[in-house]
């Protein structure tokens, strides 16, 4: 579609925004030998989990002297254990300079959102760790947009970051778009585009499928393709192996 829409020279790449969940190592102080011992200990709890993971060093809670931080040693130690240090969340200018010196990316600062299980709680659990014992740099819970009024012809509702929930019909000639999932608690008669930034796991849910177009991450279907399957009934639409699949919503 983009080829016909854009007859100009095809580019070798495209820039897209992406939200990637990373593991952060929150450093309190740095001692080369202790660091390696602690790291080895953590990895032994869940060897599979740590293999080849990208890691961010977070210095928000660093209590030692900045000059003691040796990023080259940290990188080297981690690499010996198959962990790739990719960046640093620095708390001050000194740390940023050190990180740059080690060619590490500077991650935007701000509050680190801790998972409900704190590192302490996770460490206390004796069970095999499938969760990361370190703090995860989870993206902020994406903003969900909730609409209670009928979406009328000519109106466009956009949830650029998260899910879109509509507690009313979406009329023919209306358009609803979301970075995440789209839920329509009513008839979907207009156009619905989920995963507009490329999220292939996004889904569309509606109580009656009468749509002019449904799309997940750029894969779309029009009524001609939809009418034989789930038309005018409650369905969900998702992407499976690059094909849009319409399946009935089971009544529970």
């Amino acid at each position: 579609m983009s080829d016909t829409a854009n007859p100009e020279v095809k580019q070798s790449f495209q820039l897209k925004s992406a939200n990637i969940s990373l593991t952060a190592l929150e450093l309190y102080y740095f001692d080369e030998h202790e660091f390696e011992a602690n790291l080895r200990d953590k990895i032994s709890q869940a060897p599979g989990f740590f293999k080849d993971i990208p890691l961010v060093i977070s210095l928000d809670k660093y209590e030692g002297i900045d000059s003691e931080i040796d990023f080259f040693k940290i990188i080297g130690t981690c690499r010996r254990h198959n962990i790739q240090v990719i960046g640093v969340r620095a708390a001050n200018e000194n740390q940023r300079r050190l990180a740059k010196g080690a060619s590490l990316a500077l991650m935007p600062g701000g509050s680190v959102r801790e998972r409900p299980t704190t590192p302490e709680a996770a460490a206390e659990k004796a069970e095999p760790v499938t969760e990361t014992p370190a703090v995860t740099l989870a993206p902020e819970p994406a903003a969900t947009k909730i609409v209670t009024q009928t979406v009328r012809s000519g109106q466009q509702i956009h949830a650029p970051e998260g899910d879109l929930i509509i507690l009313a019909p979406v009329q023919a000639g209306a358009e609803v778009l979301a970075a995440g999932n789209i839920h329509v608690y009513g008839a979907l008669r207009g156009r619905a585009l989920a995963g507009i930034h490329g999220a292939e796991s996004a889904r569309i849910f509606c109580q009656s499928l009468e749509a002019e177009l449904v799309s997940v991450a750029g894969h779309y279907k029009i009524p001609e393709d939809l009418q034989n399957n789930g038309w005018k009934s409650a369905v969900q639409i998702q992407l499976k192996d690059d094909v849009l699949v319409v399946s009935p919503l089971e009544k529970g």
Binding site: V151, Q155, A168, P169, Q171, G173, R189
Partner: protein, 270 residues
């Protein structure tokens, strides 16, 4: 304070002006002081249907631009003495209707009238936006066919976002669905959408169903609001709609094709 009601549809030719004429006449007949404003600058028709086209001296745009006073422009209806008509200009541009100008006229009318009926032009352009901007309520005139329903849906969406009430964050306009040119025989044959279909799609309360009738056309040509054809089904249907607008409970009629049912309903409903 006057109740300001816009009669609108999006689509043209569905019966906005016919409806404006009948609703304003019906309200006035019940003793409410009513004015009906024609917002269709350049394509004015209301004065024809109200049979006052030969009495137009000054118009809405003259008043907005200060070339005439409201009292000079208002035309008193000859049949119902609490009814006034503010005609549109036939020679001006639609842009002559400024927000400030319309507001000034509506505020002035609000002081003396009980009801202000705004007869909207078709489309979703400036004139239609001005007609709905100051309204408290909307009568959405729809024919039982897909394109008309779609356009009504569009205009409902515009009222949700572009009316003064929407811009000021006040309660939304009160919406009423008026289904016109309804032909139960054709609905039964599947050639027209049914009342239920339209109600289900638009999801707004039904004010009335006006049956398709030759009387409507004849009345328009004679310059007679069809509500004054009191023996006709269309006239009675408009009378029901006005009664419902005033809060009266009336059973919907003229919705089925069976002649027998039609008469029994007529005598029962009065």
């Amino acid at each position: 304070m006057a109740r300001i009601i816009v009669v609108t549809s999006g689509k043209g030719g569905v019966g906005k002006t016919t409806t404006s004429a009948s609703i304003s006449t019906g309200l006035a007949k019940r003793g409410h002081k009513t004015v009906v404003i024609d917002f269709d600058v350049g394509l004015r028709n209301l004065d024809l249907i109200m049979n006052c086209e030969r009495r137009v001296v000054y118009d809405f745009v003259n008043v907005i631009q200060g070339e005439a006073t409201l009292n000079q422009a208002l035309i008193k209806d000859k049949r119902v003495d609490t009814l006034y008509i503010l005609p549109a200009s036939q020679t001006r541009e639609k842009e002559a209707l400024t927000k400030e100008g319309v507001e000034k006229v509506i505020n002035e009318l609000s002081e003396t009238f009980d009801y202000i009926i705004c007869d909207s032009p078709a489309g979703i352009e400036h004139g239609a936006l001005m007609a709905l901007y100051y309204a408290d309520e909307a009568v959405v005139v729809t024919n039982p066919e897909v394109s008309s329903v779609r356009d009504s849906d569009r205009i409902l969406g515009i009222m949700q976002s572009k009316s003064r009430r929407a811009e000021m964050g006040q309660d939304p306009l009160k919406e009423h669905l008026l289904l016109t040119r309804y032909n139960p025989d054709r609905v039964e044959r599947g050639e027209m959408l049914s009342v239920q279909d339209v109600e289900e799609i638009l999801a707004i309360p039904l004010l009335g169903v006006i049956p398709e009738s030759q009387i409507v056309l004849n009345a328009s040509n004679q310059g007679l609001p069809v509500i004054l054809e009191e023996d006709s089904d269309a006239g009675q249907a408009y009378d029901d709609a006005v009664a419902r607008l005033l809060g009266e409970e009336r059973e919907h009629r003229f919705m089925t094709a069976q002649k027998k049912g039609f008469f029994s309903r007529m005598f029962k409903g009065g």
